[in-house]
């Protein structure tokens, strides 16, 4: 699976959490732009984990600030 495919699948997963329909690009931040609180983050992360059968630990989540960070991290996990 390449980066574009990962992006497309996560974009679909993000829709129900993106209540204000914020336009998402590489630099969109989860805390600042999408205003995800900790509960939303947990549900969103769980949806991604189930979709790709991976674990994104809280330690790894701490390194993820923007949409681009997330797609990079998940792409790495599904290709290694």
């Amino acid at each position: 699976m390449d980066r574009a495919q990962v992006d497309a699948r996560i974009r679909t997963l993000a829709e129900p959490f993106n209540k204000k329909e914020v336009g998402i690009d590489e630099d969109t931040s989860f805390a600042g732009d999408l205003e995800f609180d900790s509960l939303t983050v947990m549900d969103f992360v769980a949806a991604i984990e189930d979709e790709f059968d991976i674990i994104i630990s809280m330690n790894q989540q701490a390194e993820i600030e923007t949409w681009g960070d997330l797609i990079d991290a998940v792409t790495r996990m599904v290709t290694t």
């Binding site: 609180d37 947990m42 769980a46 674990i55 809280m58």
Partner: protein, 411 residues
């Protein structure tokens, strides 16, 4: 240039405290409405486990976690006084240096007997027990899998250690199962659960969850802070009631609830458990509990072994309060009473604070719990019952809730 440079502070009067500005503003807004400060209550006199003079008023205590009412037990107090006379006011030392007295060993003996387990280790607080055990046993490359609604001491134990931290949705067996199944082969796994979750007073499905953890080869730690002395045939907690004591590798508990003093502990059957005393930093690098505290704890723990009548009355109190509040029209944290905690869900923080104050003026103290400590950002009035509340007191409490709820417009 340093890595991880923080954002530059801008504007007048910016310093390290600027990050608290929002909280300071929220608090000032709440108090400006004439509200009594819910987080600065002073108990001027304590009359019994269930009564105190708070802010000048005679008040029924319904938010102290003093489940078994041991704080004024005559035997417990006598043991504390004797230890003060014989051993002095404090140990001034770590458990591993000059801070282990005969009383600390006696307290650990009482715990081993209470739980029928091989090892017991007493910490200076319950917070330090979780902090110490979790951060020490789960190291770099290991995984801690925990419930998202875990107590702050569990989260802080994770933060202090270097393990990978993987939370799952509250009490969700399948979510826990899936996460455990995805952990890389060979990694150490610790599952952290609580018997009773203190915010809503709900109980974990430990029978199923412990079985799932064992299926994946994980060690299991259960925090029984809110169930000790009360749940299970011998008061050992939800683990005992669920019949999974033998599969729990570590049980964490506290002296500051049913035991009625302060301190924390871990009990375990692990053959290498005693090494914890040398490697667990929150155990080593702090002074041990004062002799009077361990003496009161040991006496209280031994009395709790024979507390079945008090346990039965506490259950009656919890059931009556739960049923009465439901009948009045309040929304509660659980559909059925599951523990000695009954959480009343408030529509929002301002009305929750107003209700808290109305109850205080009626002469009732409960805990106001607010985000971010609460699940789903709820505002809660948390009631914890005591075996020393009389049946009449519970009826009085219901009357107070009814009047306050109508005055504030919640029911």
């Amino acid at each position: 240039m340093q890595p991880d440079q923080p954002p530059e502070l801008a504007g007048e009067g910016k310093d390290l405290f600027s990050k608290f500005d929002d909280l300071i503003a929220m608090r000032e807004g709440l108090l400006a409405s004439g509200q009594e400060d819910p987080f600065s209550l002073v108990m001027e006199k304590v009359l019994s486990p269930t009564r105190a003079i708070c802010n000048g008023r005679d008040t029924i205590l319904l938010g102290t976690y003093n489940y078994m009412g041991m704080t004024f037990d005559p035997d417990v107090i006598a043991a504390g006084k004797q230890a003060l006379d014989e051993y002095g006011s404090g140990t001034t030392g770590s458990r591993v240096l000059n801070g282990t007295y005969q009383g600390h060993k006696a307290c650990e003996d009482a715990l081993r007997e209470f739980y029928a387990m091989d090892h017991a280790m007493v910490f200076s607080t319950g917070y330090q027990a979780n902090l110490g055990i979790i951060s020490t046993i789960a190291g770099k490359g290991d995984y801690v899998v925990l419930d998202i609604d875990s107590h702050a001491s569990i989260w802080d134990g994770c933060a202090l250690g270097n393990a990978e931290v993987v939370p799952f949705k509250h009490n969700d067996i399948e979510a826990m199962d899936k996460r455990l199944g995805r952990i890389p082969e060979g990694a150490g796994k610790l599952v952290v659960l609580e018997g009773v979750y203190s915010m809503l007073g709900d109980v974990a499905p430990l029978k199923e969850m412990v079985a799932v953890a064992k299926k994946h080869g994980a060690m299991v730690l259960v925090d029984e802070a809110h169930s000790m002395g009360f749940i299970g045939e011998h008061g050992r907690g939800v683990c005992e009631a669920a019949g999974v004591m033998d599969d729990c590798d570590f049980i964490i508990g506290t002296f500051s609830k049913s035991v009625g003093t302060v301190g924390g502990f871990c009990v375990s059957n692990h053959p290498k458990f005693e090494i914890m005393r040398l490697v667990c930093r929150p155990y080593v690098f702090t002074a041990s509990l004062p002799p009077s505290v361990v003496a009161t704890a040991a006496t209280s723990i031994r009395k709790l072994m024979h507390g079945s009548n008090k346990r039965a009355h506490l259950w009656e109190n919890s059931k009556r309060l739960h049923q009465g509040l439901t009948a009045l029209g309040f929304e509660l944290g659980t559909k059925q009473p599951q523990s000695a905690i009954v959480a009343v869900i408030m529509p929002d923080l301002p009305r929750g604070a107003a209700m808290w104050e109305a109850l205080l003026k009626e002469g009732l103290y409960v805990n106001l719990a607010r985000p971010p400590a609460t699940p789903a950002n709820m505002t809660l009035l948390r009631c914890s019952l005591c075996a020393e509340h009389s049946s009449e007191e519970v009826e009085t409490i219901l009357g107070m809730f009814g009047r306050a709820g109508k005055a504030v417009g919640i029911i």
